[in-house]
């Protein structure tokens, strides 16, 4: 599904990723862990199509060169990024944003757009599953949302859009214990043989709830070690300094 070969990324001639390689197959869950500033968000930003990076190498998504696609075209093809810091958009009603987003993606894929009633039915159901207070959906997007609510809102959007590849950038940071479980349930319910996940986290706790197929350690711009879930435990015990 996703093949990253030799990815190199600079910002203002500062090298952030270098010789980065990763392959994710359909249905797999990969976790990436790495110290602050190691380039995890940079990676997710680049995959999402954010501008401002100097990139080289190859990134294929379902055998298509991602660098040839605009951000929204990647979204249409099923790439979703739950942002580490979800943005506030004043004036824009959350429900309207979600509906516009869903319909833009459906339309791009030649599917029928949902009308207001169909959409509300869907959003109600998803919000309920995620124990997301429906009343908040009538507020401006993320404005006045608590840190954890913003994160939950990202997962709500993910579950509505049902993407093929979901990238979760530290979605667990800032969630309380119950919310962590609900979010994990949300992810698990989307786990199907065609849906893949790239989960960026600092804490192995999340991985207790979402069992990853692979865990990777990102340091110095590349993956220095890959393994199974046990790698996360090892990291937790040793820390990055004593790793290697």
């Amino acid at each position: 599904m996703l093949k990253i070969k030799n990815l190199k990324a600079d910002i203002d001639s500062k090298s952030i990723l270098n010789n980065f390689n990763l392959e994710i197959k359909p249905g797999e869950v990969h976790a990436i862990m790495g110290p602050n500033g190691s380039g995890k968000s940079t990676l997710s930003n680049i995959l999402s199509g954010k501008k401002g990076y100097n990139v080289s190498g190859e990134v294929l998504f379902e055998n298509k060169n991602l660098f040839e696609l605009e951000t929204e075209e990647r979204a249409h093809k099923g790439i979703f990024l739950a942002f580490q810091y979800p943005l506030e958009i004043p004036g824009v009603n959350t429900n309207i944003f979600l509906k516009t987003s869903l319909n833009a993606i459906r339309k791009a894929n030649g599917e029928k757009e949902l009308d207001a009633i169909e959409f509300l039915k869907l959003v109600k159901l998803k919000a309920k599953n995620l124990k997301f207070d429906e009343e908040k959906l009538n507020r401006q997007l993320n404005v006045g949302f608590s840190g954890g609510e913003k994160k939950k809102n990202e997962i709500l959007q993910m579950s509505i859009l049902n993407p093929k590849l979901s990238i979760l950038d530290e979605t667990d940071s800032g969630l309380d214990i119950d919310a962590l479980k609900t979010v994990a349930d949300g992810v698990n319910s989307l786990r199907k043989k065609d849906n893949s996940f790239l989960i960026i986290t600092h804490y192995q706790r999340l991985l207790d709830y979402i069992k990853p197929d692979y865990v990777h350690v990102l340091m110095n711009g590349k993956i220095i070690k890959s393994g199974g879930p046990e790698l996360a435990l090892e990291l937790e015990n040793k820390g990055y300094e004593n790793f290697n």
Partner: protein, 478 residues
């Protein structure tokens, strides 16, 4: 990557020209031309005298130039002041007798005039260059005593009302453009709502400039008698041309005791091309008089077109407890310029005014909000609330806020809030990540920004206006 293959000029979908035979007054501004206009409209002598008085006065007036958007000197002798489709010179009795070319034009503009296709619940007066070519639902309105016709017809059929109120809000001698209009005005709408009547449908006027080198001098007069209510909307478009054309309108509103007038504008005159060539100069005087106690006048404007927009729809709150409101969205893109806002003149006791202004500038454009809140010493216990928000797109455009406040009454209260914000790259990226293209993203954010004002528009027009807001900003991102 994305291919920007949109031909910008094609974006203005109202830019076509109707090929129709015209009757024109000779070029230039002089006594003979004014006589020509008055004669073409079969006006009584008092009207011609009124025009001549304005013309005499005009000779002593100077064009103002305190506004921010400057423009090349206008040669007033190089303009046609009257142009009308030949077929409309003897106004047909019914719409079915209208020149098919005119019917087709309005149909293309989304304003079908024929009986069977009419917009539901909306009566339309269609003004083409210098004449009103048709007014729909006249009879139905007549049944409840509402008069809705062209101002030309009103001058002939309701002289007592016109004499009483024309120039009562915007005096003949007010300022250069208003006086020019008083001398040469051609057509516009007239509305009278009798006491106690709630006008059963939306009234609207659609202004179309078609002929080249022609100025449009619209004159509209709306009178809401005691305890009546009316909601009125005007829309405007013009063909794409390299030349600048002048639209200098006067709109007067009078609300008597307990009456309410809601006046909405969706202004989409041709804005000029990407490089700022051509477009309409929209220099308009709009003023409402809350003459009676408990009266209310509310202006809502969505200004997206014109090369230069220069107007301050205002309220004179003369009656005690009267209310004035101004809701505005002004959008400038490319090289458009706008200097717009309102004046709220509080004269009566317990008068209230509210100003909500949303300015959006993109490209190389420049936007000024200019507003006056004037509370006189007699206007005890009066309040004003002003909120002025600017949204900038890119860093080559400008936004300015110039609020003037005069409060001569210590018991009155004025509150002013202003914000300036920018659509950030991060916000755009967030929206794009959720599948919206940059234009859709901007549309969504901008519509959110304008929501408070859009909500004021009559339902039937809110959706159109919302689309227009998006279209006006097309090409301003990415």
């Amino acid at each position: 990557m994305r291919e920007k293959q949109i031909d910008k000029l094609k974006d203005y979908k109202y830019g076509f020209t109707t090929d129709i035979e015209n009757i024109r007054a000779p070029k230039g501004l002089n006594k003979e031309v004014i006589e020509f206009i008055s004669k073409a409209k079969k006006e009584p002598k008092w009207m011609l005298d009124w025009r001549m008085k304005a013309f005499e006065r005009l000779k002593n007036l100077k064009e103002p130039n305190w506004q921010k958007p400057k423009y090349p000197k206008i040669d007033y002798q190089d303009i046609y002041y009257y142009s009308a489709p030949k077929s409309a010179s003897d106004k047909p009795k019914s719409i079915d007798e209208l020149d098919p070319k005119l019917l087709e034009t309005y149909k293309k503009l989304g304003i079908p005039l024929q009986e069977q296709q009419r917009l539901n619940g909306i009566a339309v007066d269609a003004v083409f260059d210098s004449v009103s070519v048709a007014t729909t639902f006249k009879d139905k309105l007549n049944e409840v005593g509402v008069i809705f016709c062209s101002i030309s017809e009103a001058i002939q059929k309701h002289p007592e009302l016109v004499k009483k109120y024309l120039g009562s809000v915007i005096p003949l001698t007010d300022h250069y453009f208003a006086t020019l209009n008083s001398a040469v005005f051609t057509d516009g709408s007239f509305v009278y709502i009798p006491p106690g009547v709630r006008c059963p449908m939306e009234l609207s006027t659609y202004f179309r400039i078609n002929a080249s080198q022609t100025g449009q001098f619209e004159r509209t007069l709306i009178i809401a008698d005691k305890g009546s209510y009316v909601s009125y909307l005007e829309g405007c478009t013009a063909p794409m041309r390299d030349e600048n054309q002048l639209h200098a309108a006067n709109v007067e509103l009078v609300a008597l005791d307990d009456a309410e007038i809601k006046y909405s504008t969706v202004q989409n005159w041709y804005p000029g091309d990407e490089n700022g060539k051509g477009g309409i100069y929209n220099f308009v005087t709009k003023r409402g008089l809350c003459k009676g106690i408990n009266s209310k006048i509310s202006w809502t404007q969505v200004e997206t077109g014109s090369a230069i927009t220069w107007k301050y729809p205002s309220c004179i709150l003369q009656g005690d407890n009267s209310i004035g409101e101004f809701y505005s969205i002004a959008i400038t893109n490319n090289h458009q310029k706008a200097d717009t806002g309102t004046k709220m003149i509080h004269l009566g006791k317990n008068t209230k005014s509210k100003i909500i202004s949303k300015g959006i500038s993109a490209g190389f454009s420049d936007m000024t909000y200019r507003g006056l809140v004037d509370i006189s010493s007699k206007a005890k216990n009066s309040t004003n609330y002003t909120q002025c928000d600017s949204l900038l797109m890119g860093n080559k455009c400008g936004a300015h806020t110039v609020p003037y406040i005069k409060n001569k009454n210590p018991e009155s209260n004025i509150a002013h809030e202003a914000t300036t914000s920018k659509i950030s790259e991060e916000q755009l990226h967030y929206c794009q990540q959720r599948g919206l293209n940059p234009e859709e993203a901007v549309g969504l954010i901008v519509n959110g920004f304008c929501k408070e004002v859009l909500q004021q528009l009559p339902m039937e027009f809110a959706v159109e206006a919302q689309k227009l807001v998006g279209i006006s900003l097309e090409g301003s991102v990415g």
